[in-house]
């Protein structure tokens, strides 16, 4: 059985948070879906609330402090990403966006990503398609076709909404698992590896 890592980014603010709840459901479904594909997954969760001040500091200093660096490295180094945010004012939360603002813009290129969002009512659900999906398109991530939205009514036990949420979670997790299984394990680029093109080549591109 081969192994892969899943990073989970949750931007929920309260404890317990419905955003984290959705993230956990997506995660266990993704782990299960990977197992069905012969892959054992390890999971690392990044709770952005714990990095709220680190993120603000990064905005002013331009670098991630040690705690935040660990979180960023977890996400960048993972084979797949599950990213879940509450919807605030018609879009992802500022905390969620700030995290992806401080990740290097090329660091998520090609990474399989499953998107999720939560809000008080289902009227916010298309924020997933109108706000979150374009953000990850910009980052050139490979986003699973199904993104999962959960409103308050979806958490009500036994109803139709709950069953629909379960099936969406399962479908999305399967899509993420297919993307992760179809790629070799992640190997983040090392900027300090010996350069692929020599300095002499760089010079030849310029004046003589």
């Amino acid at each position: 059985m081969s192994t892969r890592t899943l990073a989970v980014v949750s931007a929920g603010l309260s404890t317990p948070s419905s955003t984290r709840l959705l993230a956990d459901r997506l995660t266990s479904a993704a782990v299960e879906a990977l197992r069905e594909r012969g892959i054992s997954a390890t999971v690392e969760v990044v709770e952005l609330r714990q990095h709220a001040r680190d993120l603000a500091d990064n905005l002013t200093t331009g670098f991630a402090n040690q705690a935040l660096r660990g979180a960023v490295d977890t996400v960048v180094g993972a084979d797949g990403l599950i990213a879940v945010t509450p919807i605030f004012s018609a879009s992802y939360s500022g905390l969620f966006k700030t995290f992806f603002d401080v990740v290097e813009k090329d660091a998520l290129t090609g990474k399989p990503v499953l998107l999720g969002a939560t809000a008080g009512t289902a009227r916010h659900s298309l924020a997933l398609e109108h706000a979150m999906r374009p953000l990850f398109a910009y980052l050139r991530a490979t986003v699973a076709p199904t993104a999962v939205f959960a409103a308050s009514e979806d958490w009500a036990g036994g109803g139709q909404g709950s069953a629909a949420l379960t099936s969406r979670v399962r479908r999305a997790a399967g899509e993420l698992a297919d993307l992760v299984a179809g790629r070799p394990p992640a190997a983040p680029a090392d900027p300090f590896a010996d350069p692929a093109t020599s300095f002499a080549d760089l010079l030849r591109g310029s004046g003589a």
């Binding site: 500091d57 905005l59 002013t60 200093t61 670098f63 402090n65 660096r69 010079l203 310029s206 004046g207």
Partner: protein, 382 residues
């Protein structure tokens, strides 16, 4: 090992008084700081170059020439010279000129500049930053090492039969450092030429400096200039000292909290932990600075930033006294005792001239009188 100070030439409101110095005041303060640096026994003064407020230092060679005339031993450098937006022809001329006037006490540090709007003011584009640094520096080197240059490139007018004057003092160009916070390509450039590499070592965690310097040293060896531990490394650093470390923290905190670049963000304590910033007693500064060697190896130049963020001149001069009396003598002794014999000293003009086999006069005499266009023979016959 050389010790000194570098300034970014910012004009910043003193947060404790609400007063903002004038350009004239800050310019004169920097002259006083440079002179004081020599007086207290430091080796190097480096001045930044900027072309937008809140900075005053648009023309470093003018300022450095004034300082050269008022000092005798101080090494004069830049932090940094904009290799991207300056015409390399003008850099070649200006710094060769300054080197003659300063009688060999000049070196310079190349930097790209990270302010987008500045580039178009000089006909360039920040997106070409690395390519500009590569092409312009290659031309600058040729202008200093070849008497007559034919050249064409992407970013400036071609040159045909061009001689940059004056020719380098004693036939040896000024030593060049390349400064970069986060671009491995610039460390690669420094390694390729066997030039020095300087890391600002202020704004980012030490792990980042360590990776950049390691990379530069490895590539320096790759290009055959010597062993990795013989590469020429310089570091910045930022300190504020008082006899009691609590006094240092209390006095510096408002300047830190409101500083350009990192102010209004992390606490002084957080930033001191995450970066090389040291605010405390002279002994704390000595210990922290000696620790730099643990992650960059034996290095050749240590510059401190001490005059930014609105700190008043009087305070800055006190910092220089502490550096000169209590800190640098200890650092000099301790670093020297630790340095193996095969690690080179900081480059100086005298040593470079000796390595080149002695002085040569490099003057290029024109074949024709530039004013009349007549060749010398005709002038003499008449």
């Amino acid at each position: 090992m050389q010790f000194g100070v570098f300034t970014v030439s910012d004009i910043t409101t003193d947060p404790t008084t609400g007063r903002t110095p004038t350009e004239a005041e800050r310019l004169k303060a920097v002259l006083a700081i440079a002179q004081k640096a020599e007086e207290v026994g430091l080796d190097v003064f480096a001045l930044g170059e900027h072309h937008n407020p809140p900075f005053f230092s648009s023309s470093p060679t003018t300022t450095l020439a004034w300082i050269a005339a008022r000092t005798t031993t101080l090494q004069l450098s830049t932090s940094t010279t904009l290799i991207t937006t300056n015409d390399p022809v003008k850099i070649a001329e200006d710094y060769a000129m300054l080197q003659h006037l300063a009688e060999g006490r000049v070196d310079l540090m190349m930097g790209r500049g990270n302010t987008g709007p500045v580039y178009p003011w000089f006909g360039q584009d920040i997106r070409n930053g690395i390519e500009l640094a590569v092409e312009n520096y290659a031309l600058l080197r040729r202008l200093w090492t070849e008497d007559v240059v034919d050249w064409s490139g992407r970013f400036r007018t071609p040159l045909q039969g061009f001689t940059s004057t004056p020719r380098p003092l004693d036939g040896v160009p000024p030593f060049v450092w390349h400064g970069s916070i986060r671009s491995p390509q610039i460390a690669e450039q420094a390694a390729y030429y066997g030039d020095g590499f300087f890391h600002n070592h202020i704004f980012w965690p030490k792990e980042h400096t360590q990776r950049m310097v390691e990379f530069y040293r490895r590539r320096y060896e790759h290009y055959g200039h010597g062993a990795a531990d013989q590469a020429i490394v310089g570091l910045g650093g930022q300190v504020f000292m008082r006899r009691n470390s609590q006094d240092a923290v209390a006095e510096f905190r408002p300047y830190f909290d409101n500083a350009p670049v990192y102010g209004h963000g992390p606490s002084l304590e957080d930033f001191s932990r995450e970066t090389p910033l040291t605010v405390g007693s002279p002994q704390q500064v000595i210990e922290r600075t000696l620790g730099f060697r643990d992650y960059v190896g034996d290095y050749q130049r240590q510059l401190f930033l001490i005059d930014h963020a609105g700190l008043p001149l009087k305070t800055v001069l006190e910092q220089l006294d502490i550096l000169g009396e209590e800190v640098v003598p200890v650092l000099r002794r301790e670093f020297a005792a630790l340095k193996p014999a095969h690690v080179p000293d900081a480059p100086t003009h005298a040593a470079r001239v000796a390595a080149a086999g002695g002085k040569t006069d490099a003057t290029v005499h024109a074949p024709a009188d530039d004013v009349t266009g007549q060749v010398r023979d005709e002038v003499e016959v008449r």
